[in-house]
């Protein structure tokens, strides 16, 4: 569907108001703006594409239903939507804590599919897949407040200010948590590192392959 050009200059809050009033184009534009951040956050927090899609859908339903509860002076709409997503992620975590993810979960299948390309040699592909899986597992094992900042800043690529606004804390808190989280992650991933006789010579990719 073609989005009218004049709508693209509207803020998220204005788009939501228009969407609630019945303008489908406004809703589509809002969906396009917010979906990626919400989906990726939910995916990294739940480790499942199905759950991430469920969260994304619930967030947009809630935005429409609870639009009257949104106060622009308390933050931007993306932060409001993120708060909703965070609550749904917690609900899913509570719902699914007794279960253990199967190895053939779609997330891993997608992961393997994307990592393996024709140009890569098989050993390289395997190592890359294994590294990605281990890093993802290490992130998942972090305490929640560290995990949130790693997911937002490192994986969803939000700026410190955006992460601070979504987690409702100071930018300094984000920085210190991220630094501590990186130290923890490096510690968790230590067994992954192979002995390197030429320490200074290897670049970032050289350490992995």
């Amino acid at each position: 569907m073609e989005i009218p050009h004049e709508l693209s200059t509207h803020s998220d809050a204005e788009l939501l108001r228009l969407a609630v009033a019945g303008e489908e184009e406004a809703f589509l534009l809002l969906y396009g703006r917010l979906k990626a951040g919400i989906f990726r956050y939910a995916f990294y927090m739940t480790g499942s594409k199905v759950n991430a899609e469920e969260v994304t859908q619930e967030v947009f339903i809630t935005l429409l239903k609870e639009s009257h509860n949104y106060r622009q002076e308390r933050g931007d709409l993306a932060a409001f939507a993120f708060g909703v997503a965070r609550n749904f992620v917690r609900r899913i975590a509570r719902r699914e804590w007794p279960y253990e993810a199967l190895p053939e979960d779609t997330a891993l299948a997608t992961l393997s599919g994307k990592l393996i390309s024709e140009s890569d040699a098989l050993p390289t592909q395997m190592i890359r897949t294994e590294v990605a899986e281990r890093v993802q597992a290490a992130v998942a094992s972090l305490p929640d407040h560290y995990r949130q900042v790693v997911v937002l800043c490192d994986l969803c690529e939000f700026s410190y200010a955006e992460a601070a606004s979504r987690l409702r804390c100071a930018v300094g808190t984000i920085r210190s948590r991220l630094s501590r989280a990186h130290a923890l992650l490096a510690e968790k991933l230590r067994p992954l590192r192979s002995p390197q006789p030429e320490i200074g010579a290897a670049g970032p990719e050289g350490c992995l392959i």
């Binding site: 489908e24 339903i61 990605a132 990186h182 970032p204």
Partner: protein
């Protein structure tokens, strides 16, 4: 360049992949810093791999979200009845039902204690009794004439499943043995009389009541709360 300078530089998470000027010379002779930098860069590369591996939301998701939006705009009341929401509604309804039952159970003994004396007297009043020819669990409502209007209303709602009313007899304490620990035969509402067949071993206690086939029957008074109040062996 010192170790402190290098570590301060790498404290900033954004510089995980960056190169510090003069870093190579320092790392060539400082193993500790070399390990730190190596670990941070490996982590950066690993996070990049994870980032690149993220799936994209499917087109089906967009279609579902849009369908929900259209239903909401057209005023479909089923919009938003998500699984989570339904679960919440069911959970709250269940909780309310459990609370209501718990409240009823809590209030009932209090009423029973308050009126225990009057109820013992009322237990002397006549009740309808099942016909002796019927075997099994025929239930006859026991209407307490001394009860409150509310109780009478509840008694009227009791299903009358035993049309054969044979005799009227007093369920006095000499007939019924109380099964209650501290409150003899009293009940806040209507009681039911249920005829049950006892195990044949009970004939040892009531030999006169045993039928030629060795079966023993007993009438049990059951309150509206489901608690048995008294028992009488049918002779």
């Amino acid at each position: 360049m010192t170790c402190h300078e290098l570590r301060l530089y790498f404290e900033d998470p954004l510089r995980m992949d960056a190169e510090f000027p003069g870093e190579a010379e320092h790392l060539a002779h400082c193993t500790e810093c070399a390990r730190l930098v190596e670990a941070r860069r490996e982590l950066g590369a690993g996070l990049r791999l994870v980032r690149e591996s993220a799936p994209e939301p499917s087109e089906a998701l967009k279609a579902a979200v849009l369908a929900n939006y259209r239903r909401r705009i057209t005023g479909d009341p089923t919009l938003g009845r998500s699984r989570t929401r339904r679960f919440t509604v069911v959970a709250w309804t269940t909780a309310a039902a459990v609370l209501a039952v718990a409240g009823a159970l809590l209030l009932h003994p209090a009423r029973r204690l308050e009126t225990s004396n009057s109820k013992i007297e009322s237990a002397q009043r006549p009740i309808a009794e099942t016909g002796t020819s019927e075997k099994g669990a025929n239930r006859v409502p026991w209407t307490n004439s001394a009860s409150s209007p509310k109780t009478r209303l509840r008694s009227a709602r009791q299903p009358r499943r035993a049309p054969k009313v044979a005799t009227t007899k007093s369920p006095a304490s000499e007939d019924f043995r109380s099964l209650m620990y501290c409150d003899v035969l009293s009940c806040g509402g209507a009681m039911q009389l249920i005829r049950v067949q006892l195990p044949s071993s009970a004939a040892a206690f009531e030999p006169a009541a045993a039928s030629p086939y060795g079966a023993i029957y007993a009438d049990v008074l059951v309150g509206s709360d489901g608690i048995a109040r008294g028992i009488r062996v049918v002779r």
